[in-house]
Symmetry: C2
Subunit: 207 residues, 2 copies
DNA sequence: CCTACCGATCGGTAGG
DNA sequence: CCTACCGATCGGTAGG
């Protein structure tokens, strides 16, 4: 897939706009950061796989960290949007939490590379950026916590602490990035259905 | 806590056996690997915090990776032992899975530093060691999968794929290392109780 | 367990 | 977007 681009020996790549290039750098960096981690991936690695040299990257990004930030930032953006939309949507609190878990898990499984980088490497951003990321993440976990608390109040949801509940439910969904194998036996849709059913009903089969 | 040891300026530390030193290096490395990550922690950082110099570490470990391996290995050892003991113990499959989740979560919360290093940094070991780790981890997830399948067969447990079920339940428990704050509002015991109750019953309150 | 040091890697820049 | 290069960091070793 990385080889789809023009080989170095053919000379300069033609027909790519600057935006394409930027996107391409992000895509390749995402693959490599996922495979080897942020520190173990050099800018030479990224440039090599694309077919140019390291300084070219500096034409599109100010620093290596900026590349990581671009990846991490887009993940948070999408998640935030998703949470807002669903939380404001129709349905009881429990139904909206279900929808949230379905969509969140589905998105992770559909975009495993970037989500893996997000969950594994976001801690390596500069302190200021990490603070900003945490803040935006807290934004959407709070959306879910309010929703959960509402459901507890109406008696629809199990009475546990909303912080614990939402961290646990989201954690179970997020953890897929560590074990799900797209080449494996189970389709993403099956996995999403089973996880969300398990979380909704519990592993003890109702009598 | 790292300052409990003798300061450099007081000269050589007295009254520590080699085993103490080794343990001390592991302890300090665990703290630093957790705070800053494996790559961002230099051997000088570790030595500094203890109060000696880098080459001293090589008296106790062959390489930096060996320090990480010592941490990661002990976590897997304990988990494996725990899973074996509980799986072979008394109770229905569902009861044993409950016990497993309780104990696993409790252990993580009681030893957050080392478990954080385990889950965040184990991927940075050499390919051979990573393979070995994966193999031993698979060993205990398979124990849980067999238990789950048994419970599905007897009708005690919700009928979802045992791989999905165990990954999800364990993931929910493990995820605590990312959000639990020992200085926070909730005690570890409360969190363990609420998480395991949530997973057992599901977030939808039974009518 | 220390001082002194080497070799390699790598992010980033100059200058074009 | 390239060639050439700098400066800093760091794991690891020599020799004691």
């Amino acid at each position: 897939m990385a080889e789809a681009t023009t080989d170095k020996r053919q000379g300069h790549t033609r027909g790519r706009t600057g935006n394409d290039r930027r996107t391409q750098i992000i895509k390749v960096a995402t693959e490599l950061f996922r495979e080897k981690g942020y520190y173990a991936t050099s800018l030479d690695d990224i440039a090599d796989r694309i077919g140019f040299t390291k300084p070219a990257i500096y034409y599109y990004f100010k620093s290596k960290e900026d590349v990581l930030f671009a990846i991490v930032n887009s993940i948070v953006d999408e998640a935030l949007e998703r949470f807002h939309a669903i939380a404001a949507g129709p349905g009881s609190p429990g139904e909206r939490i279900h929808a949230l878990l379905v969509e969140h898990t589905r998105t992770i499984l559909r975009n495993l590379d970037a989500n893996t980088v997000f969950y594994n490497e976001r801690g390596l951003l500069s302190p200021e950026r990490e603070r900003e990321m945490r803040k935006r993440e807290r934004e959407y976990t709070e959306i879910m916590q309010r929703l959960y608390a509402e459901g507890v109040a109406t008696g629809e949801l199990l009475d546990v602490d909303p912080t614990v509940a939402t961290a646990t439910l989201l954690g179970a969904a997020i953890w897929t990035y560590r074990w799900y194998d797209p080449e494996g036996r189970l389709s993403a849709d099956e996995v999403v259905e089973q996880i969300t059913r398990l979380l909704l009903n519990g592993y003890r089969r109702p009598a």
